[in-house]
Point group: C2
């Protein structure tokens, strides 16, 4: 078979699958933004029908024939495009789990989501224990079927970050842990010198949305190809690179959740809008990995817009949207207010320094769960011990401890490390950016983000999922992962914040 | 085969098709309400993939096997449910058109839509002529394939109103035409006694939406199972009876488009919310026909909410939403303002009396087109002649004449009569309602719509598409169609308005 014919056939089949996936994403977006409450049951039927048809197309006769053709071409050492290889990869992965296990897992996660909600509400881990036990068993089975070399948990990690292993992450996280503890100790004597009171004044709802939207637009988010709506939780979803939807939420007594919610999601959204047009309707029109995706949101949210330079640019806009609310404040006041460091119980509220400790704790506990090295019933106690060791505080109940996150209820073991990978990648990228764009600091201070965005487009966005995370990072930083750049970044930044 | 097994198999297949159709409707709704402009091309690809898969499921092997089983059961005189019969009906219809014709028509309508837009903008019929010619030919071919007894146009009429024929409609429309001309003549001397100035004051945007929404809620529209959004044109779509979406538009210098737009769509929406739960995810969860659907919107829009009683109820709410704008007005003032009769060029702006003349004109021209009795190039002139004869006015250009409606650009020949059928059905229903609910006038004056809604639910809504329009109307009115009830209704009403 001609390779151009194979490419054509594979693309055609991917196009249909991608269109259906996009449709399913529209249904989910609508569910989170506008859908009336009484429609939940019928919507669940619609999305599950779509998912079933997508799975069928992903594993059915056409897909099998295509994957056989690809294997044959590879055997014959023919040149095969990255997209075609991606198809084979995804087909192979989709076929690894028997339908019975997929159905069981889907049912177990539905039930687990309910029992997790109840358990969290009652702050009683025992109500979630059986569901969690079942999900751990099902996901351990899945890990065995996916396969791994050294650690069963690697198979789950790889669902979110292709190619990463426990063996690689452990020393990186160890260094990070030690440096974080040392930094927290150095901040401790100065902790009263920074307050976030400035962010916690009364910021009216509509002006928060307008201000955040304006900054998203300045960052380069295309509103011809995207929009921002309100939802219970901030997220970014896309139906193609030409239609990227962000959401945020508003607390009128705290500017942070809306403003940094929008900026974080805009970081994701710029990535999604930046895929090469050649990747439209293909499996390539996705992020390289969860970690790389998160690096984009965190670069903007933490590195760029929690910098003092950024507030030089943004403060006049803020004062314009909120007359009389922070008239006396300087850029440095806002810079300090958005960088307060404070060990806390809840991951999503954590600052840049302590955040990774929440992840390392979960990374360690998840490994033990998936490798059968901890009784599920003992997790709350293990959680408290680790919180005491890493952050010096202990949750007074399970809702603020092992029940706080939704991830385990959908069986998302292996997902959490992506967040810290995102921070590490962002710091590595930031180092490259400062080298490649020496004027970056003054760009930020002037609200000129086009050079930065162009850099991200050129080196990361355009490739979508056609390059692996390691490939992207190696090409830019000369190595796939380090914690050094991040540690230097926070040491330098927080020495300044707490100087 | 056990009939319960056949019913189960048919339902299962319908469920999947309905879920996919619902997904496609969500995509279309999003396109009209929130989708960013740059997403149009990728959205078109998504909807056309979904449509292709739906068509495949509607005509593929599974559908064929099911329809063979149904035919066998019918041959064996087994009891077969209305839903199962509907499936066979829709399968048979879907198979009548060869894929080649479907594809050609789909392409031709895309192009025709563009050329119609350009032609309308330039007010030049010749720019649309070739596209229209092609669509007339394709639809004539389709009509031949669908089959008919007497008139080729019947096959197209039946797509929107099952069972109706030109032979049945012609005398009904003739009587209606004569009565309308007579009524217009009787109004003529009094025409200055009614003004719509009251509706054309400055009504602020948000208050228009709030007022309209409040009335929709009073009518019984469930906002747990539906919502109202803004769009360029008002419409009603539903993704299940548990999720019905209405749209409206606002002109701050005319209360009518938003308010009566919402009420009209709420009439459709109440029908969609009223299907029996047993019909969820089946081909039965649709209106019995376009005409019956329109009867629901028009009953509410014209009969109920353009009555004097309604304004007794609604005026205090209006004054509350718009303080100072119409403080001096009485219910009778609004009743008169919303019932001004005035021959006009544009169908969608027409009043209850003149509206049908616009439809009859189109009904006559469409018959000639589909039966090859008029040259396409001669249509603008034919239009002008008929406007002169029926309404005594002549469009000064094609944009206000034969180019004004979108329908021909999507090949919707046979659709227009549904609007007048809706008015005739609504008047027939209104006669039944006054007999069955003697207190209906005081209910309306008190804003108590639950008895009326219950009546509509019991006699019409619950059945969805499992009863034919003729069956519904015969059971209620003792005949399938008449123009007498409508003529009596407008004669009585407008004698009062213009007394």
């Amino acid at each position: 078979m001609e390779m151009s014919q194979l490419e054509h056939n594979v693309r055609k089949h991917m196009n249909m699958i991608c269109d259906l996936s996009a449709a399913n994403s529209v249904l989910s977006w609508d569910q989170e933004t506008y859908m009336p409450s009484g429609a939940a049951y019928s919507r669940a039927e619609q999305t599950s029908t779509l998912a079933a048809i997508i799975h069928q197309m992903m594993t059915g006769d056409t897909a099998k024939k295509l994957s056989d053709d690809i294997k044959e071409a590879l055997n014959e050492k023919k040149e095969v495009s990255a997209l075609v290889k991606l198809f084979l990869e995804d087909y192979t992965k989709a076929c690894k789990l028997p339908e019975d296990l997929v159905r069981k897992t889907s049912k177990a996660t539905s039930l687990a989501h309910e029992s997790w909600k109840n358990a969290k509400q009652a702050s009683d881990f025992s109500l979630f224990q059986d569901s969690l036990q079942e999900l751990v068993e099902l996901k351990s089975q899945a890990a065995e079927l996916y396969g791994y070399t050294n650690n069963r948990y690697d198979a789950l990690l790889n669902l979110y970050e292709p190619g990463i292993t426990v063996a690689e992450l452990t020393p990186v996280f160890q260094t990070l842990k030690e440096a974080t503890i040392a930094l927290l100790q150095s901040i401790e004597p100065q902790k009263e010198s920074v307050s976030d009171e400035l962010m916690r004044r009364y910021y009216p709802h509509d002006a928060q949305v307008a201000f955040s939207t304006q900054i998203a637009e300045k960052m380069g988010f295309s509103f011809d190809n995207g929009r921002i709506d309100l939802a219970a939780h901030p997220f970014c979803t896309s139906f193609s690179q030409y239609d990227v939807r962000l959401t945020t939420r508003v607390n009128e007594h705290d500017l942070g959740p809306c403003f940094y919610g929008v900026i974080h999601e805009t970081g994701h959204g710029l990535y999604e809008q930046g895929f090469s047009s050649d990747l439209a309707r293909t499996f390539g029109a996705e992020g390289a990995s969860m970690g790389i995706h998160e690096s984009q949101s965190l670069l903007w949210e933490n590195v760029i817009t929690r910098s003092e330079e950024f507030w030089h640019f943004a403060l006049p806009y803020l004062k314009n949207h909120f007359p009389g609310i922070a008239d006396e404040a300087t850029p440095r006041d806002f810079y300090k207010a958005v960088n307060k460091v404070q060990p806390s119980l809840i991951r999503v509220d954590a600052d840049e320094v302590t955040y990774n400790m929440h992840i390392i704790l979960r990374f360690e506990i998840e490994q033990m769960m998936i490798n059968g090295k901890v009784k599920i019933a003992d997790i709350p106690e293990l959680w408290r011990e680790k919180m005491q060791t890493y952050l010096g505080i202990v949750p007074e109940n399970d809702a603020k401890g092992a029940l706080q996150d939704i991830h385990w209820s959908f069986g998302g073991f292996g997902y959490f490390p992506s967040y810290t990978l995102g921070k590490l990648y962002a710091a590595m990228l930031w180092k490259c950016i400062r080298q490649d764009i020496p004027a970056i600091h003054s760009h930020i201070a002037n609200g000129e983000f086009s050079h930065l965005l162009q850099w991200l487009r050129t080196h990361i966005h355009q490739y979508g999922r056609t390059k692996k995370p390691g490939e992207i990072m190696n090409a830019l930083a000369g190595e796939s992962l380090n914690s050094t750049d991040f540690i230097e970044y926070i040491q330098h930044k927080f020495a300044d914040v707490y100087r």
